[in-house]
């Protein structure tokens, strides 16, 4: 791989390398629909260091995809509006930058792989052209050279016969191969942060294993920070270093991978882990989380999880739980975090 030396300060003025790679701090996003303000993200915070993998876990509607779009700066505004918080890359708050800087950051510093590669790729252009576009737009590379770079990238992500495949169109690729093309595009400008938003949800298990292995290999080679957004706790257990669990637009638990799985400190995480069918549940009723995820337009008062929570008491209905840290680097937004962590609840 031809290593290009790049000065990060060129595209990100004011970058401070003593700060964390990416820091999301109290992010608030709301959608304005028919005069109503619907909160989608309500104070999400997490940190990503170089070479680490952070898994953001949550069910549909928990705000995980909106958070990733806010980091990338690709939210549709309106109807969405970022109403508070910061997204700091090397200490620089991206939310305060002008569109020109944000454009430079996208692709160069932060790139994203979407879930549905078929609708994320343009059906009218060959994949080689679409990958090459990044080099032409961001680096002013000639068409011919951009094509060569595209071949190199396709080869790196494991597409056989890249030389011929570069001229093919998205529909000519299988689901797994299209996801590889997406990854090639995301890697083109050698970003420091890669956001993978449900990258394998639409794929079969054997193909999922190939794609996750590829992502992991590339991340290690390039020392990238990886944000993996998923609902599949199996995938999380396989690749993540840290986990942020989201519910109703909030990060409700944040900890190292082992702590989350072995000693969860939030009832939601605990219930989620119990709800997975396992060998020892065969022939038994599954433990489930009763009820439905809340409607973000009408969140319950107090802790938003209380109507579905096995540990809820009266104060959960009225008081918003504070962020508690039952152990070092292990936080939970629950009144009874200590007790849940100690497995007393």
């Amino acid at each position: 791989m031809a290593e290009t030396v790049r000065v990060i300060g060129d595209t990100l003025p004011g970058a401070d390398f003593n700060s964390p790679l990416l820091e999301v701090d109290g992010l608030h996003v709301e959608f304005r629909v028919r005069g109503e303000r619907i909160p989608a993200v309500r104070g999400a915070s997490f940190t990503l260091e170089q070479g680490r993998t952070l898994a953001v876990v949550g069910e549909s509607g928990s705000g995980k995809s909106v958070t990733s779009q806010a980091i990338m700066g690709i939210l549709d505004t309106p109807p969405a509006k970022i109403t508070g918080g910061a997204v700091r890359l090397h200490g620089v708050d991206l939310l305060e930058q002008n569109e020109e800087t944000r454009r430079a950051v996208r692709g160069n510093h932060i790139a994203i792989v979407f879930q549905d590669a078929l609708s994320a790729l343009n059906p009218l252009w060959s994949v080689g052209f679409q990958i090459g576009e990044l080099f032409r737009v961001h680096r002013g590379t000639s068409r011919k050279e951009a094509r060569l770079k595209a071949i190199e990238l396709l080869d790196q992500v494991g597409i056989p016969d890249a030389k011929n495949r570069v001229g093919h169109y998205p529909h000519q690729f299988s689901g797994g191969m299209r996801q590889r093309v997406m990854i090639a595009m995301a890697l083109a400008l050698d970003p420091e942060v890669l956001i993978a938003d449900e990258p394998t949800t639409a794929l079969d298990v054997t193909v999922q294993a190939q794609i996750m292995r590829l992502l992991k290999r590339i991340q290690t080679e390039r020392r990238m920070g990886l944000i993996l957004i998923t609902h599949d706790l199996g995938v999380v257990a396989d690749v993540a270093d840290e986990v942020a669990v989201m519910y109703a637009g909030e990060v409700v638990e944040r900890a190292g991978i082992r702590d989350v799985f072995k000693r969860p400190a939030h009832p939601y995480t605990k219930a989620l882990l119990r709800a997975i069918p396992r060998v020892d549940t065969v022939g038994q009723e599954l433990e489930v989380i009763g009820g439905l995820p809340p409607n973000p337009a009408r969140l319950p008062g107090g802790c938003p999880f209380h109507p579905r929570c096995f540990a809820a008491e009266d104060k959960c209905k009225t008081e918003v739980p504070p962020w508690a840290e039952p152990a070092e680097f292990h936080g939970s937004r629950c009144h009874f975090a200590e007790e849940v962590y100690a497995d007393e609840r």
Binding site: E59, S60, S174, G175, G176, M177, D204, V205, T206, V207, Q208, A209, Q210, M212, R213, H231, D232, L233, G234, V235, V236, A237, D238, A240, I257, R258, F261, K262, A271, L272, L273, A275, I276, P277, R278, V279, T281, V282, E285, L286, E287, V288, I289, G290, L292, P293
Partner: protein, 346 residues
């Protein structure tokens, strides 16, 4: 092929039986004069037996023919050849009109609860619609009450009969689909990926509901899914499909703890396990490439192009789904050998 007989009570006849079931879809070219240029071999010689009150799980990746199999079983597609028997009566090649009385006994639950419910009908109309087609099941005067009872049975409030599908969440819609399938009091439910569109916390609710209904009503299920852990949880017997053929069939423990076909082993090893301590400890088999096209499947064993055990023999002869030497469960592989790929998971 008597292995699965041993699993069920002897003397009980299967409620649903398929023999050498084949479905080939012709590929046609030309606008005025159509000519057939090939066939998509979606299902190619599948045998299965389903016993009353039992669940047969069918697993496989996209394109393996599991959804076509579901459509064949409920009579939404007619087979190219082979037979389907429902309670001993052949239904595979009946005309639509003669098929109608049998449809009562075998119903389908669809994957996508968003597109399988008519948005213009109320829930009461959706669940009660089967009675319009089969008026003999419930007298007209009692239908409204029956619909409410069905809603109650699947855990929805009977007061919601006048609501529309968009007023329900995904899990609730799947319950409506199940209530509709139960309306005619069928013997068999064919569930085509019934929980794959749902969130984890909701998945469990629907699985529990299906299990409860099976116990209460003595239903038999064909449960089609790509999620191996869900199938393990619910199925008594599992059939693994690859490119239109069943490659291995056995009880849950036989398939999951003692898999013998290389494809089953690869499939099981690819499922990520929700336990970070097992990272890097599993026996990982990563298959190369994608599933070949069912239009022109490989000769001999269809899995041979991705198989690490393949020899010339595999290209020449089609392995049949045979019981192993020591009476082990049926596996369609010349080199079938047990490999415990999930041992670390237990």
């Amino acid at each position: 092929m008597n292995a699965e007989l041993g699993q069920a009570d002897r003397g009980v006849d299967p409620v649903l039986e398929a023999k050498d079931l084949v479905k080939h879809f012709p590929i046609q070219r030309g606008v005025v004069v159509k000519r057939t240029v090939g066939h998509v071999q979606a299902v190619d010689g599948v045998d299965l037996k389903l016993y009353p009150g039992k669940t047969l799980g069918v697993v496989g990746e996209s394109g393996c023919g599991k959804s076509t199999l579901a459509k064949l079983l409920v009579g939404l597609e007619s087979p190219t050849s082979g037979s389907i028997k429902l309670q001993g009566k052949e239904i595979g090649n009946l005309s639509n009109r003669r098929m109608r009385p049998f449809r009562r006994d075998i119903q389908l639950v669809f994957q996508d609860p968003y597109t399988s419910l008519n948005p213009r009908l109320t829930v009461g109309d959706i669940v009660g619609e089967p009675f319009e087609i089969h008026p003999e099941v419930v007298p007209r005067a009692k239908r409204a009450g029956e619909v409410k009872e069905l809603l109650d049975m699947v855990g929805l409030s009977p007061d919601h009969v006048n609501r529309y599908p968009h007023q329900f969440s995904g899990g609730q819609r799947q319950r409506i689909g199940i209530a509709r399938a139960l309306a005619l009091r069928p013997q068999v439910l064919v569930c085509d990926e019934p929980v794959s569109a749902l969130d984890v916390s909701i998945q469990g609710q629907v699985i529990n509901l299906l299990e409860r209904l099976q116990n209460e009503l003595g239903l038999a299920y064909v449960f089609i899914a790509h999620d191996l852990s869900v199938v393990r949880h619910i199925a008594d017997e599992v059939a693994v499909m690859y490119l239109g053929k069943v490659v291995e069939q056995g009880t849950g423990p036989e398939i999951y703890d003692h898999p013998r076909h290389p494809y089953t082993q690869a499939l099981l090893s690819a499922v990520p396990v929700p336990d970070p301590d097992l990272r890097g400890q599993r026996d990982e088999i990563v298959l190369q490439g994608d599933v070949p096209s069912p239009i022109d499947p490989p000769s001999g064993c269809r899995f041979r192009t991705r198989c690490w055990k393949a020899t010339d023999h595999c290209a020449e002869e089609v392995p049949s789904l045979d019981v192993g030497d020591n009476g082990t469960h049926p596996t369609a592989c010349f080199y079938a050998e047990e490999r415990d790929v999930t041992h670390a998971v237990k």
